[in-house]
């Protein structure tokens, strides 16, 4: 089944909608010295939604975001934000978009309060109001106690929060978040998710990139899956999951050596190949109907394959990704670092 098609019809924008899209990107391209980092990506983000760009390291997520934020030149294609051409009006775009990068982009030499104050002043906010905004944002992000400390003493989570706070100074209607929770512990991550949901409740549109599939699942209204600079699928998290199969049967083989026998047996029963992780002896079987799980299990017993654990669940986006791109989500870091430069 072609999931890209599904995404277009099921989750695509209504073309004759009266209002402007928050982001309209057509055929974006970026080449870094022969390596095509972004290869014709279309994105349509509606106002008021959280749109997730999902993909492994080096897929082109950050590059796409940086092009839309006027931080990188767009090699080919067209991009508009709230109807404003990105290439033609970079100064206007910078007033509409708040960018929070993968690496905290705050000033190491200043305190948290000084950072917020300075970024406010730079954007033409008068000194008394800049002070008030700094105080408000520090309170909102739970940074009051650390307000006077140099950033060097901040934890990773505090830096991220300050970074996001700095993006919100002028309350931009569109926020770009580049991997907002990469490297954060689970608790801080949950707090960040709440903050992001809060932004949308306040009327913001959020475009975020992530390599965490559950993050896209938790946060995003719609998701574009990107791999090697191309969009491989788009839709709501549920649509994408349904596309892979109604449910997934996960099997842990007692003996990883029996992997190939198990794969053959499943193929005989369902007519399609399961996904095998040979090292762990894990088998992932997409099912169009949950009750076919019984058929698979019976056939495996008959084939003498011993199983140590079984579960049937809605497929996770991990499986979606696997099914869409044919490889696991651990992309090579080499292109990843090049992209981030």
């Amino acid at each position: 089944m072609n999931i890209t098609e599904l995404g277009r019809t099921g989750g695509g924008p209504a073309p004759n909608e009266g209002t402007d899209l928050a982001v309209r990107a057509e055929g974006l391209m970026k080449t870094f010295g022969g390596h095509r980092a972004v290869d014709g990506i279309d994105l349509h983000v509606r106002p008021g939604e959280i749109f997730g760009v999902l993909g492994p390291n080096g897929a082109g997520k950050t590059t796409t975001l940086r092009m839309l934020a006027t931080l990188l030149k767009i090699d080919a294609g067209h991009a508009e934000i709230f109807g404003v051409d990105v290439v033609g009006n970079p100064h206007v775009i910078r007033q509409l978009v708040g960018v929070t990068g993968q690496y905290a982009s705050v000033d190491e030499n200043l305190t948290a309060r000084e950072n917020l104050w300075r970024f406010s002043r730079l954007q033409g906010i008068a000194a008394p109001r800049a002070r008030r905004i700094a105080t408000e944002l520090l309170a909102q992000f739970g940074l009051e106690e650390a307000a006077g400390k140099p950033i060097a003493q901040f934890s990773g989570g505090m830096r991220r929060r300050l970074d996001l706070a700095a993006s919100l100074i002028t309350r931009p209607p569109l926020i770009f978040l580049d991997e907002p929770t990469t490297g954060l512990d689970p608790r801080t991550r949950g707090q960040m998710w709440d903050t992001i949901r809060g932004l949308v409740a306040d009327g913001c549109t959020v475009l975020l990139t992530t390599q965490y599939l559950d993050e896209a699942d938790q946060l995003a209204d719609r998701v574009a899956v990107i791999d090697h600079g191309r969009k491989v699928a788009e839709g709501t998290p549920d649509e994408l999951k349904t596309a892979v199969g109604d449910s997934a049967l996960q099997l842990q083989l007692a003996d990883p050596g029996e992997g190939s026998t198990a794969v053959e047996t499943v193929r005989r029963v369902l007519g399609s190949d399961p996904i095998l992780s040979p090292e762990q002896g894990r088998l992932n079987v997409a099912l169009d109907q949950a009750d076919r799980a019984a058929d698979v299990l019976i056939a495996l017993r008959a084939a003498g394959v011993s199983i140590s654990s079984v579960s049937v669940a809605k497929p996770s986006l991990d499986e979606v990704f696997l099914a869409l791109t044919g490889h696991e989500t651990d992309g090579d870091d080499k292109t990843g670092t090049e992209e981030n430069r």
Partner: protein
């Protein structure tokens, strides 16, 4: 959490924001943003006092060293070498100081915060020009210490306080304009180390192939020809005339002209290459 502050800050629709957005940065805004960036650079200097080592130590060290090493050989004795040498050290110190501008810019650009500067609706030149405004303080310290050290060693400038002040101002202006060259190097080089290397290659010929430490007459003809067109020579001669004789010679005009040309070339080049870095 965020709803706590919502009443205090108006919710603005995207369409209003697009309509209200400014299309360009005005001159006044550019100036204000540059001063904000200068404020940041000053804060940074205050918190990293080691940045003052070069401007503080070099004038003291070099003045003492050069006076005792070259003094006897070039001018007969240390005292009579000082009026020749102090303006030379002044030029050299100011040039070394502006070299650090490029290195520090490069270091800064490698940090995440420059990404934010780029993503903000501010003049592209502000993050470059801001630190250079703050550097005026470093030039002032370096120039003042050079003359101070000279006075301690027995230098009695014939131009008086006025002449010395004028020489210092000219040196600061020259340093500030030539710093655009190093800023440009800072935006094109791949690393801070590379900036340092390239800057040294520019700096050494400029300072040593000048009349800063030796009289031009002692040099072979081909070398003297280069020394005569070197802008640093003009600065040194102008500073000597000002500090030793309180004379505003034509050399002042040549120095200022050379500086303006350097700025007119390298300021736009720097901004262009900074923008390309995005």
């Amino acid at each position: 959490m965020s709803t706590l502050i919502a009443p205090a800050r108006e919710v603005v629709t995207a369409a209003d924001r697009v309509a209200g957005a400014r299309r360009h940065v005005s001159m006044g805004e550019t100036l204000g943003q540059t001063m904000m960036m200068a404020w940041r650079a000053l804060k940074k200097m205050r918190r990293n006092p080691e940045q003052f080592f070069d401007v503080a130590l070099q004038p003291i060290l070099f003045t003492a060293m050069f006076a005792f090493i070259f003094g006897g050989a070039i001018a007969g004795d240390v005292e009579s070498y000082l009026p020749l040498m102090i303006p030379g050290i002044l030029a050299q110190t100011v040039l070394t100081t502006c070299m650090a501008t490029g290195t520090q810019l490069r270091e800064d650009m490698e940090k995440g915060v420059f990404d934010r500067f780029k993503s903000l609706p501010i003049a592209r030149i502000a993050p470059l020009a801001g630190p250079m405004v703050a550097d005026l303080l470093r030039y002032t310290i370096a120039a003042t210490l050079t003359f101070g050290m000279g006075l301690v060693m027995g230098y009695r400038p014939g131009g008086g306080a006025g002449g010395v002040l004028a020489a210092i101002l000219l040196a600061i202006f020259t340093g500030w304009s030539l710093a655009w060259v190093f800023t440009w190097v800072g935006t094109i080089a791949r690393s801070a180390q590379a900036v340092q290397g390239i800057s040294m290659m520019i700096l050494f010929p400029l300072t040593f192939l000048s009349n800063a430490f030796v009289p031009v007459e002692t040099l072979p003809g081909w070398l003297a020809a280069f020394v005569r067109i070197n802008p640093v020579s003009h600065l040194v001669t102008a500073a000597r005339d000002l500090a030793n004789r309180a004379v505003v010679s034509g050399e002042v005009a040549w120095t200022i002209l050379a500086c303006l040309i350097v700025m007119a070339i390298f300021a736009p080049l720097s901004v262009r290459s900074y923008k390309r870095h995005m």
